[in-house]
């Protein structure tokens, strides 16, 4: 299970991404070791979502290299699928399949992509539903659950695929304030269990308590990265300081 030569699990070298004439990512260099917990923050439009969406090829990077667990991410469908097997994603708008029950949501990809049997898929599904603390909702439909519950189901759905890496794209931004805690709790548990994760979020409390590294992005570039203590108490760049002052004063 150890990477050869102790290579980082995720490597991004010189990654650029354009949307037409607009450059969303400028020369991104990022290495993530196995078991590291990264929080990415920054103003809207800074490219944070774009960056993690490039990791599982929901966006295509224009140049540079992205290497996941030793495999380079290219146009080839085989490479893309190999990466997606190992990378789980949780979306801001949950994206649960509305026409399936909760447990079916968790079983579908297991059966189709990992070719797991129906019985085994259900077992795994119930296991992870337990882990996110809502096993009793198994036979309900997504619309019958609260936002916080839906997002926890979304996390469980990604976990059922047994990924090596979990990506979170602003997982609590669409939630009512009283439901943010239950989702962050699940994410914290996951982090404690050693899951490698990259989390785009505005939840600075989470960053302080869980992250190994906090990364600040602005206008497509990585401006600063540091451990949480240094990042929040002694930020180096002016832009970082400005951002922190804006979001921490309310």
């Amino acid at each position: 299970m150890n990477d050869e030569n102790n290579q980082p699990l995720i490597q991004m070298h010189g990654v650029n991404k354009f949307f037409g004439a607009f450059q969303a990512l400028k020369n991104i260099n990022l290495d993530v070791r196995r078991g590291e917990r990264i929080v990415v923050c920054g103003p809207s439009g800074s490219g944070k979502s774009t960056m993690i969406r490039c990791i599982n090829r929901l966006e295509e990077h224009n140049n540079g290299h992205i290497i996941i667990d030793g495999k380079e991410l290219t146009d080839k469908v085989k490479d893309i699928n190999a990466v997606r097997r190992e990378v789980g994603m949780v979306f801001q708008s949950f994206n649960l399949f509305p026409h399936m029950t909760i447990v079916k949501n968790l079983m579908l990809a297991q059966q189709l992509v990992r070719k797991v049997s129906k019985v085994e898929a259900r077992e795994t599904a119930m296991l992870y539903l337990q882990r996110v603390k809502i096993p009793e909702q198994a036979d309900k439909y997504p619309i019958q659950l609260s936002g916080g519950q839906q997002q926890r189901v979304a996390i469980a759905r990604a976990l059922c695929m047994k990924p090596e890496i979990m990506l979170f794209d602003e997982p609590t931004s669409a939630l009512d304030p009283e439901m943010i805690h239950e989702v962050l709790e699940v994410m914290t548990d996951l982090a404690r269990d050693g899951m490698t994760m990259i989390c785009v979020t505005h939840e600075m409390g989470f960053a302080r308590s869980v992250a190994d590294r906090v990364i600040f992005m602005d206008a497509g570039e990585i401006i600063e990265e540091a451990d949480p203590k240094t990042f929040f108490n002694a930020p180096k760049s002016e832009r970082t300081k400005k951002f922190l002052s804006q979001i921490l004063t309310h």
Partner: protein, 231 residues
């Protein structure tokens, strides 16, 4: 001007004899048209220009011209060509019923494919991204995510189209088919009583429409059971 109820009583059974033909036209054209629509839809969303473009042209032509013209072209127009008369299709194309079914099928296929496409476009992009992130293939996403959701979205528009199809079957009477409208027109020609006959015929169609709407209501409730909060 009196309303001759006895005439209605006599004519109703005659007109209802045509209901079998109306029904036959509706169901056969409906089913074949739906299959055609699915084919056109797949061509439209294939992403390949040599499939998309011909489908677009077909849909444009069949939605842009009156169905009566399409019926006449097939029934009166095709026999102009000797190679058609000599071909194996002639057995079908010689009969007005065959021509009517062909015309209705080609027409409804164009409309329904656009309705289905509307449903497909309405499937939330995020849901497909979730499928991709989970590693599902394009084919798997289309079958398990797109199709069930698009079907529910397209259903109201589709039910309207089926009702339009029912009304279009009345045009079969213009090429001598003895459906309900055809029989009614014959009766009116004999009795000069358009009010009684045509109004009772209209009521028959309205009942038929009502039945279809109720049927689709049931289907809509079944398909949409996951979108209602009560468990």
């Amino acid at each position: 001007m009196s309303f001759d109820f006895s005439l209605i009583a006599e004519s109703l059974p005659l007109m209802l004899m045509g209901i079998g033909i109306t029904f036959k036209l509706l169901v056969i054209s409906g089913v074949l048209g739906f299959c055609l629509a699915v084919g056109l839809l797949l061509m439209r969303i294939s992403g390949k220009w040599y499939l998309n473009f011909p489908a677009q042209v077909y849909i444009y032509v069949f939605r842009g011209t009156p169905i009566l013209v399409q019926i006449f072209i097939i029934y009166y127009g095709l026999p102009q060509f000797e190679w058609i008369r000599d071909s194996v299709f002639w057995a079908v194309l010689r009969e007005p019923t065959g021509c009517a079914i062909l015309a209705l099928t080609l027409n409804t296929g164009a409309y329904v494919s656009e309705i289905l496409r509307g449903g497909v476009l309405g499937v939330g992009k995020g849901l497909l991204e979730a499928g991709s992130a989970l590693g599902m293939s394009a084919r798997q996403k289309f079958i398990y995510i797109t199709t069930p959701i698009a079907a529910r979205l397209a259903l109201p528009a589709y039910s309207n189209d089926v009702i339009s199809l029912l009304k279009s079957t009345a045009l079969a009477s213009t090429i001598t088919i003895a459906d309900m409208t055809g029989i009614a027109r014959t009766i009116v020609a004999d009795t000069y009583a358009p009010y009684e006959i045509f109004m009772s015929l209209a009521i028959i169609y309205m009942i038929f429409t009502f039945g279809l709407q109720k049927l689709f209501g049931v289907i809509e409730r079944y398909l949409g059971r996951y979108s209602r909060r009560e468990g």
